[in-house]
């Protein structure tokens, strides 16, 4: 594919391979109207938070969820045994 100004002008006229295309979505994206997943608001949406081990090198022997589950607004605490069949 040529890259001189003439080549580009020719390609553009032909509107084929090698010519640049205006994208339909760009005007939305440059104005902040993208609507990405995080922008979508559905009623009753819950948020998930990952809890990682506070130790850099250790074995997980047990996970105590009691305190977390007692907190207001906490719906569930998942750990591996509960989802290992997925």
């Amino acid at each position: 594919m040529g890259t001189t100004a003439e080549d580009i002008a020719r390609a553009e006229k032909l509107e084929g391979i090698g010519c640049s295309r205006k994208r339909k979505e760009d005007p939305r994206f440059v104005q902040g109207k993208g609507n990405y997943v995080d922008d979508v608001k559905l009623p009753g949406t819950l948020f998930a938070d990952m809890v990682r081990s506070p130790y850099a090198h250790a074995r997980i022997i047990s996970i105590n969820k009691k305190k977390a589950l007692a907190l207001k607004g906490v719906h569930a605490v998942y750990s591996l045994p509960m989802i290992s069949n997925l």
Partner: protein
């Protein structure tokens, strides 16, 4: 939970909100004020997608508290176009294909806006340094730099 009423100018409009004192500006802008053009990519001041203009400076809105904006002037990507007319930067990003998925674009635009206020005709090097706090996971840097250059020439 300590709450505080704050008011500031958002894209030239006076807004008043009640926020928790620990709340970040990014969250208040997105959730309370419904301006979702400002994205959150990392929440740790690395990526720059949350960049907004606060009192004439580019700031990462995930890294400052909403209360710090009290009485100030904030501009987000939604404030770039005037009366439906796209800002030269917005036009240049479209023309020069300065975006792919568009997720980093609001931060890139708002940062470039301030960059061009500070330096109306930057060299390529200066654009790259000026945008070094903004990451593009689509890695379209070449055309982003090109678009900022184009916009600078048109402004």
């Amino acid at each position: 939970m300590i709450k505080k009423k704050i008011s500031f100018k958002l894209n030239e409009q006076e807004v008043e909100v009640e926020v928790e004192t620990r709340e970040l500006l990014a969250h208040v802008i997105r959730e309370q004020l419904g301006k979702t053009g400002t994205h959150i990519g990392c929440d740790t001041s690395h990526c720059g997608v949350c960049t907004v203009d606060l009192n004439g400076n580019s700031v990462k809105s995930c890294t400052i508290l909403a209360v710090q904006a009290d009485g100030g002037e904030v501009m987000t990507v939604e404030g770039l176009a005037t009366n439906g007319e796209l800002h030269p930067l917005q036009q240049a990003f479209i023309q020069d294909h300065g975006l792919q998925c568009g997720f980093c674009t609001p931060g890139m635009l708002i940062r470039s806006y301030r960059l061009l206020q500070e330096n109306p005709s930057p060299t390529e090097e200066e654009i790259r340094v000026g945008l070094s706090g903004n990451l593009c996971r689509c890695t379209g840097y070449q055309n982003i730099v090109k678009a900022v250059k184009t916009a600078a020439e048109k402004m």
